[in-house]
Amino acid sequence: MHPLLLWFHKTGSPPEFYRLSGKFLPWLIALAALTGLPGLYLGLFETPADYLQRESVRIMYIHVPSAWMSMFIFGFMAVVGAMALIWHVKIAEVLARCAAPIGATFTAITLITGALWGKPTWGTYWVWDARLTSELVLLFLYFGVMALHNAVEDPRRAARAAAILALVGLVNLPIIHYSVEWWNTLHQGQSIRLFAGDKSSIDSSMLTPLILMAFATKFWFGASLLSRARVQVLEQESGKEWVRQLVRKELGSDEPGKTP
């Protein structure tokens, strides 16, 4: 077996994953707070108002990172879903399942904050614009994946079906990203180009809080994913001795003849 796959299988074993994720979780929460709080402060109080959007530009500091996350999480879900399909890695199934509600949350934030930004800027909460519509389709895809996980009784079959839907849904990501270039949309074009900094049209004073919030949402996703996956692992392994020992230890009950 390939060493990387072997490592993945080893760290992906439920007790080992539970132990490791418990170590990473507080760090991810701390990093999310350390990047998010300054990002929010700068975005709300320090950055100047935009000459065109005026004060409503402050919505961008949560709207744009959430939109990036909505696409990033779907991509992540498809990748781990593919790993579950190809290599039957149990923990990949768990991660794909747990990523869906977080992705749906960020997509909902994107759509709602976008609508609240649209009213003072465009004069309307909603238009059937290519960017907005494709983002709404992404939300429905997340709902579809979540529904599949809950509708199929056998978790492994559910994971396979949801992984296929996530892989098919991947086609929506380039549509969302390039919609502002392919169609004549009301939504503005890209202001930030990660791989062509000179083409970015955003001022550096606005870029700092935006980047901080982008990191904060990534760390948030990591923390939320691990905490959800830990619950899922406990539920799936509830009959195993290591879970019973953990529960006994947490509830402080002792059973004769069992050692922790």
């Binding site: 934030i109 609240l116 939320s224 905490s227 406990l234 059973e255």
Partner: protein, 62 residues
């Protein structure tokens, strides 16, 4: 147009949805651990009840 209600509304939605996202696994874990604890207790009780009595009480009266 006053932009404040839109900014406040956006940040409130952001905070509330992320709060729900943070609380839901915490609540789910608490419920699950409690259920598993109850299951363990039931199993313990059943195991204790099925054990034979060490000294059966005497039924003779004379």
């Amino acid at each position: 147009m006053n932009h404040f209600p839109f900014i406040f509304g956006s940040y409130a939605v952001f905070a509330v949805l992320l709060l729900i996202d943070a609380l839901s696994p915490w609540l789910a874990r608490r419920t699950l651990v409690r259920e598993l604890g109850q299951r363990l207790k039931r199993e313990n009780r059943r195991a204790t009840q099925s054990l034979p009595d060490p000294e059966p009480p005497s039924t003779t009266s004379s």
